[in-house]
Amino acid sequence: MIETWLEALQPAHLNFLLQGFRITLEVALITIALSYAIGIVIGATRYLGVPGLATLFTIAVETLRNLPILYLLIFVRFVLPTLGIRLDPFWSAVVGLTAFEAAIISEIVRAGLASVDRGQIEAATASGLTRLQILRYIALPQALVRMIPPTVSQFISLLKDTSLAVAISLPELMHNAQIIYNGDPVRYVLPILTTTAVLYFSVNFLLSQIAHVLERRLLRT
């Protein structure tokens, strides 16, 4: 039993898992950065009610957030090539995940903007600021601060969802774990899956505790 675990968790295997985890983190970080930027643009557009564009974004957001992430990944990797758009697994994962996350973050932005005290908006309007100026100088700065805890929570979901990229052969943590235990399924499956779970858990648990502290601190001010 112990020997099996030691053999399954030999340094070469652990290294391979960590390599996968690096890809997981890279994909998640690029995705969250892109989703944040796109989410703010979409959220602000819907907040301002830009004619046409706001409706278009609403339809896009409702569609994307109601589809499985796995579907989006497979769509980007295997369906888009039939339309002449060919991406490697890494960028397929980034694009597929961003399509979903940007939709979710735009909703967080909208909720953040809507939570800004009405009196402030009225005061700003009365003092002659335009709607764009109100967004830029009054609503958005406050919304961005309030968005921090939900965005951290969203990042945790994202780290977990990156595992779905096994379906498009991205060499991330889950994929590398599969490669190792396929080498000797009977003996390696449990040690490798357990170690993989511990890796995901330790990073995500730490992040969730940070989100918790941030939330409490923001509530106090």
Partner: protein, 226 residues
């Protein structure tokens, strides 16, 4: 046109995938409702070590990928000569995963009720169980319902992971149809349409519930944020 053709020729397969997706989601919802209530009970248990078990379950399960749990049931248990098929392994994984989120929703719902409710209950001579049954749960239910609805939407979407462990649900069948016909875009577009047919009305309904149940008439004194 090509869509109608696909539907005429492969309608049965789409329909069978759709039914599996819906069936797995409903069964997992019921299962995770039972398990989640039990875990929430553990978490709020007055004896600390028992509460710690509940908390450990929630924290561990919430922070690992659903796919990993599914792989554990599908590939991991095979080591103990327990061979589950994709649908069973997937349903178990979905149930265990979703139960953690439901347990949190239940706990949050109960916790957001003011302490005065308990105190008033005790003052009128009700027992713990009676207060829970007649005072707390009927009120908490209103707060718990919208997050439960959200979990059901998530279940419908998350059930797509069955396709990775040979569970013949909607995405799996869509893939099979795309591979058989080479009509990749139409096949996958229909898959999306079937998912949205379920998830969009459901999430709209959840939004309606959220608005209705958090209406002013239900704002409880000292109730805190919901």
């Amino acid at each position: 046109m090509v869509y109608l053709e696909l539907l005429r020729e492969y309608g049965d397969l789409f329909w069978s995938g759709f039914r599996t997706t819906l069936g797995v989601s409903v069964v997992s919802l019921l299962g995770s409702l039972i398990l989640g209530t039990f875990i929430a009970g553990l978490r709020m248990f007055p004896y600390a070590p028992v509460a710690a078990v509940g908390r450990a379950y929630v924290e561990f399960v919430r922070n690992i990928p659903l796919l990993l749990i599914a792989f554990f049931f599908y590939f991991g248990l095979a080591q103990f000569h327990i061979n589950l098929d994709g649908i069973v392994a997937g349903t178990l994984a979905l149930t265990i995963y979703t139960a953690a989120f439901i347990a949190e929703a239940i706990r949050a719902g109960i916790h957001s009720l003011p302490k005065g409710q308990w105190e008033a209950g005790y003052a009128t001579g009700l027992s713990y169980a009676q207060i829970l049954r007649y005072v707390i749960l009927p009120q908490a239910f209103r707060l718990i319902l919208p997050p439960l609805g959200n979990q059901f939407v998530n279940l419908v979407k998350n059930s797509s992971i069955l396709s990775l462990i040979a569970g013949p649900e909607l995405l799996y069948q869509g893939e099979a149809i795309a591979n058989a016909t080479f009509k990749t875009l139409p096949a996958y577009t229909l898959v999306a349409a079937f998912y949205l047919l379920l998830t969009i009305p459901l999430s709209q309904f959840v939004r309606y519930l959220e608005k209705r149940l958090s209406g002013k008439e239900f704002v409880l004194e000292g109730g805190g944020a919901v």
